[in-house]
Amino acid sequence: MSQSAKADGDQGKAGASALGRALAWLPALLEPVMRFAQRVLGARRMPWLFLAPNLLIFGTFTFLPIIINFYYAFTGGVKLFPSERPFTGMENLATLFDCRDYFDPSTCRKDIFWQAVYNTAKFAVLQVGLMVVFSVITALVLNRKIIGRGFWRGVYFYPVLLSPVVVALIWKWILQSQGVLNGLLVGVGVAPTEWLTSASWMFFWVILVSIWAHMGFYTLIVLAGLQAIPKDLYDAAQMDSASPWRVLRRITLPLLMPNLLVVIVLALIRAVQIFDEVFVLTGGGPGTATTFLVQFIYQTGFAEAIHLYGLAAAASLVLAGALLVLTLLQLKIAGGGEIKDGKAKGGAGHA
C-alpha cells in the first residue's frame, strides 16, 4: 500500500469516527427531552408521542377530508366554502337514489350515476376475475425454469411502472380509427373496426388494458407465494404419481390462498376506484359505456356546467360504503383462510 493511500485511509477513518462522535451526541441531546415527556405523560402514554406526527398527517390529509366530505354530502348549492353552503339534509342522497327501477338506470333521476354503478360492478367482477386467473397462470409460468426467466419477469412487470396516462395514450393510439390495430387489420385484409365508438368493444378493451397495466404487480405477489411453498410437498406428490392438475388443485392453489386473497382484495379495491387510465382512454364513453363511479364523482364535482360538490360528495359516500363492505368481507374471508399448523384450509397435504 502506498503512503498516500494509507494517509487517505487514515483520513477516512478519522472522518467516520468524527461523524460517529457527532451522532453519539444526538441521543444524549434527546434524552432530557424524553425524560421530561415521560415525566409529564407517564410511561404508558409515551407511545402516543411517537405516533403523534403520523397521526397528525393522517388526521389532516385523510381523516379531516373524510369529515368535510361527509358534511358536503348534506349541503347544496355551488359555493365551495362550507359556511356558505345551505344544509339540505338527505336531499343529495335522495336525488341519487330516486329510481323507479334500480335495475334500469334510464328510470332513475340520475341515470348516469346508476349506469356508473352498474359499469363499476361489472368491471370489478370481470376485471378482478380475469386478473387473478392471468396472474396465477403467468406466475406459474414464470416460476418454472424457462429460458430468460429474469427477462420475462421484467417484461410482465414493466407496464406497472408506466403512468396511467401513458398507458391510456399508448392504447388510444392503438385503438383509434386510424390507429395501429386497424392498420394491422387492414394489412391482413380485415375491415377496420371503430373500437372507440362501440360500447361492447370498448368495455372489453378497458378491461384488457387495465389487466395489462396492473397484472405485473399481482403476478409478483403470486410468484412470492409460489416460491414460499415447500418443495418437499411437490416431491411427495411426484412420488405418489399425482397428476399436474391434481398437484395444482391440491397443493399449489390451497397454499397460495393467502396470497390470492391479498390479490383479490387489492385488485377489487383498485377496480372499484378505477378512473385515471379509463378517463384518458375513453372519457367514460362511448356514451356512458365506460363511465365508472369515480368519474361520475369527478364530473359532477368539477367538470360539469354547474359544480355540484354536494351531490359528488354524496356519491363518494356511496363509494366509501361499497369499499367498506368489500374490506369487511375481505377481513372475514382472510380470517377463515389462515394457514394453521402448516396446513391451509382446503386440504393441502392430501394430494
Binding site: G76, Q176, S177, G287, T288, A289, A305, I306
Partner: protein
Amino acid sequence: MFHPTAKRLSRLALAVAACTSLAAWSAEIRVMCYQDGNECDVTKDLAKRFEAANKDVTVIVDTVPYKAITEQLPVQLGAGEGPDIARVTDLGGLNRFYLDITPYVKDAKYWEANFGKPLAWLRGSPADKGIYGLQSQLTITGPFVNKTLFDQAKVAMPGPKATWDDWVTATRAVAKATQTPFAMAWDRSGHRFAGPAISYGAKIFDASGNLVVDDGYKAISKKFVDWNKDGTMPKEVWGGTGGSSYRDAFEEFKNGRIVMYLSGSWQIKRMDSQIGKSFDWIVAPNPCGPAACTGIPGGAAFVALKRTKSPKEVGRFLDFMAQEAVYGEMIARTENLPAHSGVAAKGVTYNVGPASKAAMNTFVGEVGKLSPVAYDVQGYKLNRAIFLNTVTRLSQSIVGEMSTDDAMNRLVKDIDEAVKAAAK
C-alpha cells in the same frame, strides 16, 4: 475600525434589506393563460413592454392547458385562491369572481365605446355596468371547407344562402367521389352546436328568459344524430368519448378525412401553419336553416379577479393591453378577430397567406349576420348548462344508448337541475 468580516456581513445585510424592500415595493401579477395558437406567447411579449414602462409591476404569464381554465380555475377561485388575471371562455359564468377595474382604468368611456357588447358578456346582469376584463379576441363559429376535394370531385360548392341540407348533399357527393371517409364534422362542443340550432329556429330562451329546448333545438338534434349514425360524420368525434369533454375535429380535417369542418375563427392560425400547402381550404358562410344563417360569437377574455392583492396594477395592465395600438398588435400577431370596435374599423394588417386572409374576411362578414339569439346565449351566465349537457346527451344518442327524443327529455331535466342548483 471594522473587522473585514464584519464589514462583509454588514454589506450583505444591506443588500438583503435592499432586495426585500424592492420586493415589497414591486407588485407581482400572475396571469393564467391558455392558448389555441400563440396568444399567451404574444401576451408575455407585450407584458415585458408593460413592465418596461411600469418598473413597479412584474407580470408573470403562466401558460396552462384549456382544461385547467375550465375545470381547475373555478375550484381555485371558489376557494379564494388563483391568479390575478385569467384568460377565460366561460365569460359570464365566472362573474362572481371578477373584479371591477373601472376605478383603475384611465378612461372608462374608452372601454365602453370600444368593447361595448363583449363587456356585457362579462357582467352578471343587465343592470351591472362594471368593467371586468378585456375581450382578447372575438370568435365566430363557421365551417372550413376542403376546396381541393371539391375541385377534385368537380362538385359545385353551395352558395352563400345554401342550407345545411344543401351542404350535406354536396359534401357527401364530394366524399363519395374522392373516397374521403366522411363528409362533415363538428367540434364536440355545445357552443358549436348552438349556431346550427339557432339557424333551425332554436330560441334557447323562453319569454321569461329561462333556457328552453324547443322544436328548433330538437329538429337539429335529430338531424345531427342521424348524420352521425349514417356515416356523414365521423362517430368518433362525438361518440368516441364520454361526458361533456371538448374535442375538436381539426386533426380529421387536417388529414383530409373530412370535407367540411364546423369550428371557428380561432382555428385559422392552425390551418395556416399546419395544413400549409397540403390542400386548399376556405371558410364558407354559415349555412342556413329555416330561421337563420348564423354561427355564434364567443372568444376569450382576460378577466381581473377579485382575489388579487394588486387591483390597481391589474387594472393598469389590462388598460395597457386595451389601448388601440397594443390591442391591434396583439390581434394581428395572434391572427384573431378584434373585439375592439376602433381596431376593427381601422382594419388589421395580418401577416398571413391569402387563404387565411380570405378566411378572416369571411368571418368578419359573418359578424353582421349573427342572430340576436346567438349574442344572448353567449352572454348568458349559465350557458354551459345547455352547452355541456347537450354534448353528453347527444353523444349518448349517437352511440345508441337512448333515442334522440329521450336525449332531449333528459336534456330538459339536466338544464332544469343545473339552473336550480346554481340558484341555491
